[in-house]
Symmetry: C2
Subunit: 193 residues, 2 copies
Amino acid sequence: MSRVVFDISLSLDGFVTAAPRTAEQPLGPGGVQLHGWLVDHEYLERAVADLGAVVAGRTTYDHSIPGWRADGPSGPARRPVFVVTHEAPEAGTVPEGGVYTFVTDGIESAIDQARAAAAGRTVTVMGGADLGRRCLAAGLVDELSLHVAPVLFGSGTPMFAGLDAGHVALELLEAVGTPETVHLRYRVVRPDG
Amino acid sequence: MSRVVFDISLSLDGFVTAAPRTAEQPLGPGGVQLHGWLVDHEYLERAVADLGAVVAGRTTYDHSIPGWRADGPSGPARRPVFVVTHEAPEAGTVPEGGVYTFVTDGIESAIDQARAAAAGRTVTVMGGADLGRRCLAAGLVDELSLHVAPVLFGSGTPMFAGLDAGHVALELLEAVGTPETVHLRYRVVRPDG
């Protein structure tokens, strides 16, 4: 069965954007540093190699599609992407190619559909923070994959504030430091093992 | 000149204690996991080898002295400890041996006195979170040394919330993962280099 990985980049003090966010700087001033590790093509290709399907929130869809290079030779946008949203966007605004499915009946449904599409490969929940917290609280996440940038923002969009999941025990799978980030991968330890 | 290292253990979601804190569980339920890495005597001895002096807040002094094994053959309590406090504790309650100095005129004074005592060796600010934030905001910290336990607490005493220092650029010095923790060491990058 596909494992579900929640993957996100954040500052050392736990912010997934800096403040204030603006139309010109949707990640806030300096926020692009969080994604500086994407220059590490070797790591990225390894991460994407087993990717079967993506689950994303609506804000991630609205802001990140250009960065995903849907027309590129690789990248997550070549995989089926399930966008959790209250309302599907207007027809005609959705990039062609058929990779996008808009899921309006909740995160469990999105994960189920992504699992089916992934056919045993990894399902990656790509953000944002709110979707990640909801998936964690619902017990839908098998692994956390965090990319911790070497910066304190002091304010911004918090990754973990408001997580309503009690204590979540984790097992470290990987800790790799680079100048751009520290990649931390954890298995979520279920009460039943 | 002595470098000043702020050193603290925290959960992956950035809490230095779990909630609720009680007299029986000053670190909150499960909070002792944060310090599980202290069983790693090899790491600890290496960290303490260059330790010249300690700066601690009053809560850390009140709660952690028993755990520091002041009578042991090693451990931070064998070094001069400068406790930042509004009021020195009553005479007679302070452990003998003369390692404790109570500093009532602010964090800069405590750091200055610790530097003088350390004579070129490392000054470690050992907590708590509030003292660390104040030292960071005042530009007094040269290095961050974080020990990130594999657990999400969801609530507790936040390490970074309320840090009033703008963006703080960091340079990764070390990232070492163990089953008990991930040791992350960073240099604080000053605007003037």
